[in-house]
Symmetry: D2
Subunit: 255 residues, 4 copies
């Protein structure tokens, strides 16, 4: 599937988490350990907040492990809140438009998982995207469609509920169509101030999700980026957490 | 907008028309003379028929003028029927999925023109694409959407009528929404045996279209590729032609 | 040839000069007015200084005018000293390794011009690169080779003299080989504190170079980025200037 | 390192060997079994002979596994002699100029292996390239440099001897510089009529090499592309073979 990382806290250079650790996200692009696929070489993306309300974004279709631009950007951009993602495509094309994190206004969103039998469901899910957001639909992934649908479902005022409503609608549609392959949704999103992360699936195999609260900030990852395994807490299936800079993260149920 | 070229006749190397002439399509990627934009550097594509029913295709997002792969492919592939296109994007992203010629099964399609106020119309036009073809919708252009809609409207049995029905529906929708910017459609398509080309617009400015019947075959172009201007015949606005290898092309009205 | 822009002064977002002005560098990538070629679509690069001694760098082979990453990076990075370049290749490949600005340690370098009959001279100029820098030779351009040779010729302690020595050696070699096509060198470089810019050619046609000192800082450009032509001062052939943040630029002869 | 495949015999579509088999070269780009690295995702290339003396070539920097162009080209090009390569970079950049197969005139060359401590040796090996070929040096790999040096050392009249002379010279230089990391050279090359393949290293670990003579032709591979392991013959360390269409391949010592 994919691997991702989100950070909020004291401003740090992106490289601190994306490039430097022994099992950094760039390392995971070639050698992920807890993902369905070891290789996550179908493009990547980073998004970061700086002085502006809307985040910056750099994404590319080549593997993260060989991109000199990514190294340089991570080496020179310091941010209090950033997202990074390496992709393993599951049926849709390798293109910038299909790279995470997706951005709409001040929001960023990353997903690790998949909608079973996506080609049959795509139209239905795209129909959940409101007209005024349809121009932001530039790719063909399930991830982007769910994100846009969630904005339409009230992401701004009820972030967790919006994704739940969309996922339930998708699951109901899958049931109606007799689709038995699973709907898996381990994801993280932000409005530039708070970071949410959830781990959920219609079966018992939601992709892995961990977090760690250090002296400097909160790190949310698909899998630990360092060897200190005991420092990381696993998000349980059907669970989530929300964090704000300077406050302790709170956990919640996500079902 | 864009520039394109279609050929059918005795098998020739693609380079004969795409690379070598003084005003070849590659030359037109940097210096088009009759297009709205001189530069057509937003990606390109070639499609060709060989021994198989379905055509081969090579497209890329860089400008045609600097791509060594394109030179080599044109230098080594000989075909009796091929399409080539250089793109000037009009609002949608530079991506492979937005490069012409578009391919579905044994069909190829290229377009030069635009649907006025496309962001407002996109959803309506995409709704004309039948379910079984929706998976082939990989980009965001008006061109691809019209092509897929035309297949749904009966391209296989009534090729010209199918495009007319789609264009009229689009024009009606534009009228209904009060969109006054024009709908322009200079295009060419093929089923691997016949080549159609039409020149039409809702205003009086359909993009240019020429053809030339030589000893070896028929060439259809956005603008002449050589300096022998008097050898080329201009397709009138509201006109079209259809050709089959070994037979004289026939003209028709397209309105 | 190429077009470039350098800035030093109060920290500003890169977009202020690279994207926003009516004749911004991105605009010049498609419509340069004072260059040999109107289109500068053979890749681009930006380099910027932030908190670190060495600059960050982002370069890509596609045209600047369609790259969303470039827009986002310029929109979110604020710097007191940055370089930007759009390339028109003159015989060498379109590749990241051939994109300006070139970077070695804390130095950046951009060039607009060419070494006449470069294929015949390449080996000789590469031979001027010291062993310890040869690993930094990743492309095939005359520009990169001259830059690396200049570092070898003492760029660190005598920046202007180093380039002069290299250019004179190249010119002498051209004379020895009977090469009559010109050597043209309009260039700018920086060590992260000072910015140098020179305009020189072996004939009377060095590429254009302008500068402007505003309230916020110094801008050096191939051609003015705005319509206030009278605010820009033309660097004469055989001239140069050097600037440091907070001090008035000084001009000098470069011959 | 890398994985490659060469074929000569009855004309077949490239896909027959590059895409379709259960352990095809495209499969090996993500899951090689006998290579130092499982992932060979740092670009790829194919070269093929058709009606012309010089071969066609298509290479790209993205991984082979996700490139639709590669699929289409392999699906539509039929050839009596072709080369294909997927790359795992060992220190040099991911760029088209560093993709195999390298082409000079009617020759193609592919390499799997490496020159130990290449940065220290690069200049010496490049110095072995004759002046008239130096313009063909567009990348920075050891592979390309050795190929060009071998042409200079008489590839045209004594193909095997030319590579031996170059390798011995490189090894001697390594000894002189006290470089103890190995020189490994498993490679294949062709003049469009004959195909040579050799397996050699300065230590006892030359990369794997196999061949199979079927009813239709000869296949040379880094590792078998199908599950019929007993049908493939392993080239011993210090061995080579040469083949011509329609004749049985001959083996030889390569030391």
């Amino acid at each position: 599937m994919c691997r991702f990382l989100a950070y909020c806290g004291e401003p740090v250079f992106l490289e601190t988490l994306v490039c430097t650790p022994c099992h950094s996200l760039i390392e995971q692009s070639m050698h992920a350990e807890e993902a369905k696929t070891e290789t996550n070489g179908d493009g990547f993306g980073v998004g970061w907040y700086s002085e502006r309300t809307e985040p910056g974004r750099y994404c590319e279709i080549r593997p993260a492990w060989s991109d000199e631009n990514l190294q340089s950007i991570c080496n020179h951009i310091r941010s209090h809140l950033f997202f990074a993602h390496v992709r393993a495509a599951t049926g849709t094309a390798v293109s910038r438009a299909n790279c995470h994190p997706f951005k709409v206004g001040r929001y960023l969103f990353m997903h690790n998982g998949q909608v079973g039998d996506w080609p049959r469901l795509r139209r239905k899910v795209e129909a959940m995207i409101p007209d005024e957001l349809y121009g932001a639909r530039t790719g063909t992934t399930d991830s982007e469609a769910i994100f846009l649908a969630a904005i339409g479902a009230g992401l701004e005022r009820d972030s967790v509920g919006a994704f739940q409503r969309v996922l339930h609608a998708v699951r109901d549609e899958m049931t109606a169509q007799g689709i038995t392959s699973p709907l898996r949704f381990t994801a993280t999103w932000t409005d530039g101030e708070r970071v949410w992360a959830v781990r959920w699936a219609s079966d018992d195999k939601p992709p892995s999700l961990y977090w760690r609260q250090g002296g400097n900030g909160l790190i949310v990852v698909s899998e630990p980026v360092d060897a200190q395994r005991d420092q990381w807490r696993r998000v349980p299936a059907g669970g989530g957490l929300v964090a704000r800079i300077g406050a302790a993260p709170e956990t919640f149920l996500f079902q």
